[in-house]
């Protein structure tokens, strides 16, 4: 137990505390009276892509939604525990979720660009909220975000077109650009490729590998091959008997996939369930 705890809090045995991006301590989450997550603790490292895997219903989406305080948007939802971003607990008393969400961006399962806005306005949406008005600055920020999302070349002539006029994969990259435009520290991705075809998927996977240099990336995925391709660290979640999700194992991806420490992890990875 102690070894596993140590493993979770200090995977890869990183000594430098600034390398730790997000520290989750004793996170519990409920939907009303139903507990969805129990006592999750782990340290998510920066400059690494962390994948969250596990069978359906084990709380993966709930977990990452706790990282940007989106979980509490659902009526009746509740969170207990600590999530430390750059040393500060985002669930501390008096912390405004609005500010947290600026630092922790999110990309959703289905691409959801705003249909009443153009490509440009979609990317600029977050910027406008924060008071950025001058067109010049906005254009630069939009271009930069689209470049980071590897979408600039494809849409630079189509900036005024409606956001939904793009293909599925392009829309998802647009959503990524939109999230990146506000310059978050973290990018959360909830099964970002599940609605996309393989070609679009691989483009986004390439993108993720590029982005990890600048952002802490946490990706939820159903697809273990994807976890294997894209992530450096992997956390395996499982639903316990009372339907609360727990973290079973957290290790370097290579290590977990070749030599898992828990038999349940091994069972999942080898496809025996889930």
């Amino acid at each position: 137990m102690v070894v596993q705890e140590e493993m979770r809090m200090n995977p890869g045995h990183a000594d430098n505390s600034t390398e730790k991006g997000i520290i989750v301590e004793g996170l519990n989450a409920w939907y009303g009276s139903l507990q969805a997550l129990r006592n999750i603790s782990l340290a998510i490292l920066s400059k690494r892509v962390t994948a969250i895997i596990g069978p359906s219903g084990c709380g993966k989406s709930t977990f990452i939604r706790c990282l940007n305080r989106m979980h509490e948007v659902v009526p009746g939802a509740r969170v207990q525990g600590k999530v430390l971003l750059a040393g500060e607990d985002i669930y501390a008393q008096g912390v405004d979720p609005v500010r947290v969400r600026r630092k922790v961006g999110m990309v959703f399962q289905r691409p959801n660009p705003f249909p009443t806005m153009s490509v440009f306005d979609n990317v600029a949406a977050g910027l406008k909220l924060n008071g950025l008005r001058r067109l010049g600055q906005m254009s630069d920020a939009v271009e930069q975000a689209l470049r980071q999302a590897a979408l600039w070349d494809e849409v630079k002539d189509k900036l005024k077109q409606n956001g939904t006029a793009l293909s599925g994969g392009q829309q998802q990259r647009l959503c990524i650009a939109r999230a990146l435009a506000v310059q978050p520290e973290v990018l959360l991705m909830d099964e970002p490729c599940s609605a996309l075809d393989p070609v679009a998927t691989s483009r986004i996977e390439d993108l993720i590998r590029e982005l990890k240099e600048r952002y802490i990336i946490v990706i939820v995925t159903h697809n273990m091959q994807q976890a294997g391709r894209v992530s450096d660290m992997t956390a395996f979640f499982l639903m316990s008997n009372d339907r609360a999700g727990e973290i079973i194992e957290y290790d370097e991806t290579r290590q977990m996939f070749t030599n898992p420490k828990d038999e349940r992890t091994e069972a999942y990875i080898t496809g025996r369930f889930g």
Partner: protein, 281 residues
């Protein structure tokens, strides 16, 4: 503007707008309570058993009642429902079971539009259609006017309720070899009966309070029911006439009658809600 200033402005705007929306709701609900509450309080002060059993007293004398008008409203509503509900039912059945094509679309649009025709226009229409040829105002004309108002409402409600009956029910019936019309009448309609009944109840509640169409059709009658081909009294009509008069005693009667009307309408609405909630959990 500094980042912090922008943030504070955004937060203030948030609280302000959320507050305004809450205020708007409060205002809307307050108006309801104001109108209904005032009517109930004022009305109940002048409401007594005499009101229902007596007819109007001579001018200036307090007391008396609106027996003629109450009976008149009952007669008119019954007449209207006798036509409006069956025809509306059938029209709704058409829209639900056969209404997928162009005819159905047109009929549906017409029904929706008919619900929006001002009731005063319906009244004038029935005047031209019934009162003029008959040479007299009549309960019949009033009934027709109310039926016309009722008809599209019942039709659309019936359609929506019948559409909610799952296709599997229809299939099962047809698979047993039951002819289509039988299937509709014996399987689909009974399946939708709760919704159809509640929809009809709401339509009845609506026409019970209608005044404008009756001005030119039923006219009102101070001497009670004189036959279907004669003018007839009605509560909403008399409320209007009492209200715009200069006499306090008549105003009191108007409040008491309004109390009855509002209670009727509200009780029906609550009953419908309760039935629907029980049915669909």
């Amino acid at each position: 503007m500094t980042d912090r200033q922008v943030y504070l402005r955004r937060r203030t705007t948030n609280y302000l707008m959320v507050g305004l929306c809450g205020l708007a709701t409060l205002v809307a609900v307050s108006f309801l309570l104001l109108v209904v509450g005032y009517t109930l309080i004022k009305g109940i002060a002048f409401l007594n058993l005499d009101f229902i059993t007596q007819t109007a007293r001579p001018l200036g004398e307090p007391g008396g009642g609106m027996r003629h008008e109450i009976i008149g409203t009952l007669v008119l509503v019954t007449l209207a429902s006798a036509v409006g509900i069956p025809v509306g039912l059938l029209a709704g059945a058409y829209l639900s079971e056969f209404g997928g094509g162009r005819t159905g679309t047109v009929v549906r649009l017409v029904a929706d539009v008919l619900t929006g025709v001002p009731s005063v226009v319906v009244g004038i229409f029935v005047y031209v259609l019934v009162v003029r040829p008959m040479g007299t105002f009549s309960a019949l004309a009033g009934g027709v006017a109310l039926a016309i108002i009722m008809l599209p409402v019942v039709a659309r409600t019936t359609e929506e309720m019948m559409k909610l009956v799952p296709a599997t029910c229809r299939e099962a019936a047809l698979a047993l070899g039951i002819p289509r019309w039988r299937m509709i009448v014996s399987v689909v309609m009974p399946g939708a009966i709760v919704g159809i009944v509640t929809g009809s109840m709401l339509a009845v509640a609506r026409i019970a309070g209608e005044t404008a169409p009756l001005i030119f059709t039923a006219l009102g009658n101070r001497f009670g029911f004189a036959g279907l081909d004669q003018p007839i009294a009605a509560m909403p009509l008399q409320i209007w006439r009492y209200a715009v008069s200069a006499y306090d005693t008549w105003h009191q009667q108007a409040w008491a009658a309004s109390f009855l009307l509002v209670m009727l309408v509200f009780l029906i609405s609550l009953l419908v809600r309760w039935i629907t909630a029980k049915r669909y959990g």
